[in-house]
């Protein structure tokens, strides 16, 4: 179990508070409990108190606690606490001291409760890191949020600066005033930032570390970040709520080296590919199963393994021809003006489905649909070419800072 660094700090509303200050609050509640948190301070205080008391807890942003979600949580034997309201579990409960439950979003079904602990979340425990001040724009209670929270609590000299995910301009201002030198965020967050924030303002932050996690990362984004922030180390992390944090890639290339397959990595994680799908064995997993099917489809390109998509959402059936939507995205993403894209199939009574795309292009360029269609037309077979390319003004984003599509 990693030893908490209670003197590390979190910057809340412009003021630095220590973790021991945060853990000092009164938190007399029945367990296991899910805290519905209303603001940043409440989230970080709940986490600090939970760890200090080895509580059996979870936390989630209160606005995501719909009546249906609450029902599912109480059926799973959890107390739910939101402001002064406490809702009792619907079934007998079992308290597991030190259990930290990560709740998945539940936007497409009932929430999944994934059981971790401080130890399984502390993927960087024992790692020597330079002192850093981390901007944390993740949604409270997500796996990525816990990763930064545990980093801030268990690795010496790490300060956390929480922020929301909505306004790129606002975070840059906050980061400058709080002397942030490291940012961990989703690729969607970075794409929006590169679209809305002047590159000189970003460079003025003097970031030394840029981390991307929570979504698939593509080469175009990595290249743009490198161009914009030449002095920062750029890292993308492969992790999932179930499998835990598996590996971090620092070389500025998408995917990971093929030589990492079938041998233990330094952190004890092992990787293998079966039928193009990535399987992981991780000491940070939330399951006792030795190998976990990540459901992510991969492809090998020379010495690299690239992660294309979730297996269950990858294919479009065009007149009997299977089109890999993520491969089409990869081709669209090769156009230098394309900042983001999403490809999907839409039903067609004539061909089963046809491929359509949404793209966000660099507003300083004059790329139009016809030109982009010519670009992909020269690179893709007919069935795989998007028949309609919709130009969007921004990347649609969820509360967790991920792309909604």
């Amino acid at each position: 179990m990693p030893a908490p660094c209670w003197d590390n700090e979190v910057v809340l509303n412009g003021r630095e508070v220590t973790w021991s200050d945060l853990a000092d609050g009164v938190l007399e509640v029945a367990e296991p409990v899910v805290f519905g948190v209303h603001d940043v301070r409440e989230a970080w205080a709940a986490f600090a108190c939970g760890v200090a008391r080895s509580s059996d807890f979870a936390l989630i942003e209160a606005e995501r606690l719909t009546p249906q979600y609450i029902t599912e949580l109480t059926r799973a034997g959890r107390w739910v606490r939101r402001a002064d309201k406490v809702i009792a579990p619907a079934v007998p409960t079992t308290v597991v001291p030190g259990r930290i439950t990560v709740l998945t979003s539940g936007t497409t079904g009932p929430p999944k409760l994934v059981e971790h602990s401080l130890a399984s979340l502390a993927t960087l425990a024992g790692t020597a890191l330079p002192p850093r001040r981390w901007l944390c724009p993740y949604s409270a209670g997500t796996y990525a949020w816990y990763q930064l929270a545990v980093l801030g609590l268990t690795v010496p000299d790490q300060t956390i600066v929480p922020t929301g995910v909505e306004e790129p301009d606002a975070w840059v201002e906050l980061a400058a005033s709080a002397r942030v030198d490291a940012v961990s965020a989703t690729p969607t967050f970075w794409r929006r930032t590169l679209l809305h924030v002047d590159s000189a303002a970003l460079r003025d932050l003097h970031l030394t570390q840029v981390t991307l996690g929570g979504e698939r990362v593509d080469q175009v984004l990595l290249d743009r970040l490198r161009e914009c922030l030449p002095k920062a180390r750029i890292t993308h992390i492969y992790a999932s709520t179930e499998a835990g944090a598996c590996f971090a890639v620092h070389d500025g290339r998408q995917g990971f080296p093929a030589e990492w397959l079938n041998r233990p990595l330094g952190n004890g994680v092992r990787l293998r590919i079966e039928d193009d799908r990535l399987w992981v064995s991780s000491p940070f997993a939330a399951t006792d199963e030795e190998w976990i099917d990540t459901g992510d489809v991969t492809r090998r390109r020379d010495d690299r393994i690239e992660i294309l998509a979730r297996a269950d959402e990858s294919f479009v059936n065009v007149g009997g021809t299977k089109v890999d939507a993520r491969s089409v995205e990869a081709v669209l993403g090769e156009h230098p003006a394309v900042l983001w894209c999403h490809v999907r199939g839409v039903d067609s009574p004539f061909t089963g489905q046809v491929v359509v795309a949404k793209v966000l292009v660099d507003p300083t360029t004059s790329l139009d649909e016809a030109a982009l269609r010519r670009f992909v037309g020269a690179r893709l077979p007919e069935a795989a070419r998007p028949r309609i390319i919709e130009f969007v003004a921004d990347v649609p984003m969820t509360a967790a800072g991920k792309s909604v599509v």
Partner: protein, 80 residues
């Protein structure tokens, strides 16, 4: 949606593939290289313009050989 607007959509779809536009309605879809995917694209673009799904008889599809047939088909589908 007017017949001329539908024809303009067909021309756009053909030209985006580097094919020649329609010269007259008696031309066959085969001559023009107007294939099922092109047909799907025109249908999608019409649906986007009118804001609803097209409604049509599948049996009608099998009788389509000329541009006039395509235009008749979409005109009917839009009007249903």
């Amino acid at each position: 949606m007017e017949r001329t607007e539908i024809k303009a959509l067909i021309d756009n779809v053909l030209q985006a593939q580097g094919k020649e536009p329609v010269v007259n309605e008696a031309q066959t879809t085969r001559e023009l290289g107007f294939r099922s995917l092109d047909f799907s694209e025109v249908a999608l673009r019409i649906e986007l313009q009118i804001g609803r799904e097209l409604n049509f008889e599948a049996a009608q599809l099998r009788t389509i050989t000329t541009v006039a047939d395509v235009l008749d088909f979409f005109e009917a589908a839009v009007g249903r």
